[in-house]
């Protein structure tokens, strides 16, 4: 009985450890090394930022499908401004501003107009993506248009010379965002209220919570997160193209769902979202190293997400 409870509670974590052990055996010399894990942390940093801020809206039982195209749009906005000769900080601020406005627009549709988040953000997904193509003229902005100071950010990091390691700034930025989101959700009354809305919207409203304003602001946070991820991506590849963020949305939602399997009542918690992101990142990294075909990789990743969520919903139902 005890063991069963343990599996129920930590099933996903146990699965994660299982995956690590599996790769360690199959890739003895390359997988379980500090270098590889630092590499993974950089690979997943963009996804992580999106998933962390996605957690904010998912706490309220909402979600945001437009994050991927917002990431593309933000990257494009910054790059277009760079190419017009504006300084870096203006490009970055403009991209973040676009993130806030886009997020507020999502929030406006969902909370003030009252459209289901699925429909509203599906609409803005297409809109943001359209804007990205419109502004860029459909082309990738790269080369001399992207200032080298901007792209060198992603390539630099904090050197730990004694270990001959470099912790990339991208990973540090993701950790910073993790801390901020954790702080907002777990330590402030704002976060408490978001969880209350997720627990029961009507009851929270009658208990004096300003549901509309909070939903609006939470979507803005998610929008900013997506914009930051877009900038990180542009910096990393030293270019911006109007479809660069399109893979992020599904994986971010999958990561939050994976995380939700860990929490007591199935509510999203940002630290568990981190675990979800890590699982996806490690799987991708390990399977790539094992030369597993990328199509098969996709099938496997999808299957594992479903497996984890199915397992947790079955055990929790029994409870």
């Amino acid at each position: 009985m005890k063991i069963l409870n343990l599996i129920k509670k930590y099933g996903t974590l146990i699965g994660f450890i299982g995956i690590i052990i599996f790769f360690t055996f199959n890739l003895p010399s390359t997988f379980l090394t500090a270098k590889n894990f630092i590499n993974i942390s950089q690979q997943i940093s963009m996804l992580a930022v999106v998933a962390f801020t996605m957690t904010v809206v998912m706490v309220m039982n909402d979600f945001d499908l437009s994050v991927g195209s917002m990431a593309s749009l933000a990257g494009i906005v910054a790059a277009v401004l760079f190419s017009m000769g504006y300084p870096i900080w203006i490009g970055i601020l403009a991209a973040l501003f676009v993130g806030v406005i886009g997020g507020l627009f999502n929030g406006f549709l969902v909370s003030i107009i009252g459209i289901l988040p699925f429909v509203a953000t599906l609409g803005t997904l297409t809109m943001f993506s359209g804007f990205a193509f419109l502004i860029s003229g459909g082309r990738t902005i790269f080369g001399r248009d992207i200032p080298s100071e901007f792209s060198s950010f992603a390539r630099s990091g904090i050197e730990i010379s004694s270990l001959d390691l470099k912790i990339p700034f991208l990973s540090i930025l993701a950790l910073l965002i993790l801390f901020i989101v954790w702080f907002i959700l777990e330590q402030t009354t704002y976060g408490r209220r978001l969880y209350a809305i997720g627990g029961n919207t009507e009851a929270s409203f009658l208990a004096g919570i300003k549901v509309k304003q909070l939903r609006l602001s939470a979507f803005a946070l998610t929008g900013v997160g997506a914009a930051i991820a877009g900038l990180m991506y542009s910096s990393r590849v030293a270019s911006s193209n109007p479809t660069q963020g399109s893979g992020l949305m599904l994986e971010a939602i999958a990561a939050v769902f994976l995380g939700m399997t860990m929490s007591e009542e199935g509510e999203p918690r940002v630290l568990y979202t981190l675990l979800g992101v890590l699982i996806l990142g490690v799987l991708d990294n390990g399977l790539t190293q094992m030369n597993v075909d990328s199509y098969i990789r996709e099938v496997l990743v999808g299957f594992i997400v479903i497996l984890a969520v199915a397992f947790s919903s079955i055990t929790k139902k029994r409870n």
């Binding site: 009851a203 009658l206 919570i209």
Partner: protein
């Protein structure tokens, strides 16, 4: 079917025994009341009977023959019907479609739905109950809760291959007005006369004594009493339910009413109600009465700022009060206990602590935004004790508590701000006798401290027992305020029906 027996029924949930060795015998043409406090095992018994839960052990006998059946479909084929407290009505379908949810649709040429026949059969079924005022083509959203209940019952009467043999009513009157309840009792009597077996669950003593032939009482999963109703008294039933002497009477009011006026509502109109005027002094209880859906809910909506004031004015603690959202109300120290515990009050999957603290986060913070965990714990512990909540710890999820204890959490939340005015919408609905008494005592405690109270209840005895004056509503309009405390229930009732006729 003449006789249905459940023998040695036992059901446990992990280590908790919900029912142990319960036997019950139900006869046709008899209304058998099943009673017990919340958590006594009534719902479990009904769920087993409905095939929703699998018993650990049970023998079911029909007319002395053992039946081995555990699937809900088989039970349905035996003619078992269940009318639950929470109605499973699909509100955007018509009355007739709702009535046919459990039946195959009649078809023309074996392919297209025969709508005429559906309408015909459903209005026949309603007529059989003596219900003439419901149009079967109407959408169910447009019906009152009482009418929806009647629709659900009538749907069991639709002619199919199986004739209904057993009706199980789970707190059917909880959401009904007196008038609607009377109608329901007539229907139940009709069904009984036709030879059906009726199993009836309710917390309301008076109606049990009025309509049942036999009473079975469960306590902590054990059957403690089965007897003819004529041999029983209210006191005896309550005694066996709680296991100790406990009067159903209301505790005595000892507080005195202060002359300070807490709230003065002066001829207020909202989009939903008209001409509302009343004053509540510190320590006074205002009761709201009327037929169901006469505007009771809307009075609370007005006071909580859900419906904005269109005309007239309210002053609260000698200041103008114009709320635009519930958050304004809570800020002014007006607390609210909503009617629907599960949908309007609680976050079921969240902790006792979160549920208690939710309206008070602005006060439970450091530097305006940091959650003050110490203070949250302190307040939750204090007020949980105050309402005598039975719980393991404050991080326990609400859904693990019984209905009565859940309601106590809603109360402890309302009390946590030391309210000046407390709004109670059906505060004892679906709550067992013991918890009811605790709630009444809390209300009295509050009046002693000078809190004004607005109490809406469809249980007239509660209004009579607790209130200093009564506001009677008619068609979303104030009809009368009865100031005199010495009015008897006949008078109040007379006012209901009087107001209906006009």
């Amino acid at each position: 079917m003449k006789k249905l027996e459940l023998l040695n029924l036992t059901k446990s949930f992990s280590s908790f025994k919900a029912l142990s060795n319960v036997s019950i015998e139900l006869l046709s043409g008899e209304t058998h009341a099943l009673m017990g406090e919340n958590g006594a095992g009534k719902t479990t018994l009904i769920k087993v009977l409905a095939g929703i839960l699998k018993p650990d052990q049970m023998i079911m006998k029909i007319d002395n023959n053992i039946q081995n059946i555990y699937s809900s479909i088989q039970l349905k084929n035996l003619g078992f019907n269940f009318i639950h407290q929470e109605l499973n009505i699909v509100s955007y379908l018509s009355v007739a479609e709702n009535m046919f949810l459990n039946h195959p649709y009649p078809k023309k040429y074996k392919t297209i739905i025969d709508w005429n026949k559906i309408y015909k059969l459903s209005s026949n079924a309603l007529e059989e109950l003596g219900v003439m005022h419901i149009d079967v083509k109407k959408k169910c959203t447009k019906l009152s809760t009482g009418d929806q209940m009647l629709v659900k019952i009538a749907s069991c009467l639709i002619k199919t291959d199986t004739t209904p043999t057993l009706y199980v009513f789970d707190e059917p009157t909880a959401a009904l007005t007196l008038q609607e309840s009377e109608k329901l009792f007539k229907v139940i009597n009709n069904l009984k006369k036709k030879g059906a077996i009726i199993l009836y669950v309710s917390h309301r003593m008076n109606e049990i004594l009025e309509i049942s032939d036999k009473v079975t009482v469960l306590r902590d999963g054990i059957k403690v009493l089965t007897d003819k109703t004529s041999e029983l008294s209210k006191e005896k039933i309550i005694r066996s339910m709680v296991g100790k002497d406990l009067s159903d009477n209301f505790p005595e009011r000892t507080g005195n009413i202060n002359e300070n006026i807490v709230i003065d509502v002066n001829n207020v109109h909202t989009k939903n109600i008209k001409n509302i005027s009343f004053k509540i002094k510190a320590g006074e209880v205002l009761g709201i009465a009327g037929l169901s859906n006469s505007g009771q809910r809307e009075i609370f909506k007005m006071l909580m700022g859900v419906d904005n004031i269109a005309k007239g004015k309210i002053s609260f603690m000698d200041q103008k009060y114009e709320p635009t959202s519930p958050s304004d109300a809570w800020k002014k120290l007006i607390s609210f206990v909503p009617r629907e515990r599960r949908t309007e009050a609680l976050m079921l999957k969240m902790s006792v602590k979160s549920n208690t603290a939710t309206p008070h986060y602005s006060k439970l913070s450091k530097f305006f935004f940091l959650a003050n965990k110490k203070q949250e714990n302190l307040i939750t512990n204090n007020y949980s004790k105050k309402v005598q909540l039975k719980y393991n710890n404050i991080n326990q999820s609400i859904y693990q508590l019984s209905g009565g204890n859940q309601q106590k959490v809603v109360f402890s939340r309302a009390l946590a701000s030391n309210p000046k005015l407390l709004l109670l919408d059906e505060p004892t609905r679906g709550v067992d006798v013991g918890a009811k008494l605790d709630i009444y005592n809390l209300i009295i405690q509050l009046t002693k401290n000078g809190c004004g109270i607005v109490l809406n209840s469809s249980d007239l005895s509660e209004i009579m027992g607790m209130c200093d004056k009564i506001l009677i509503l008619k068609d979303h309009e104030q009809y009368k305020i009865l100031e005199n405390f010495k009015i008897n229930s006949q008078d109040v009732l007379a006012n209901f029906y009087e107001s209906k006729k006009q």
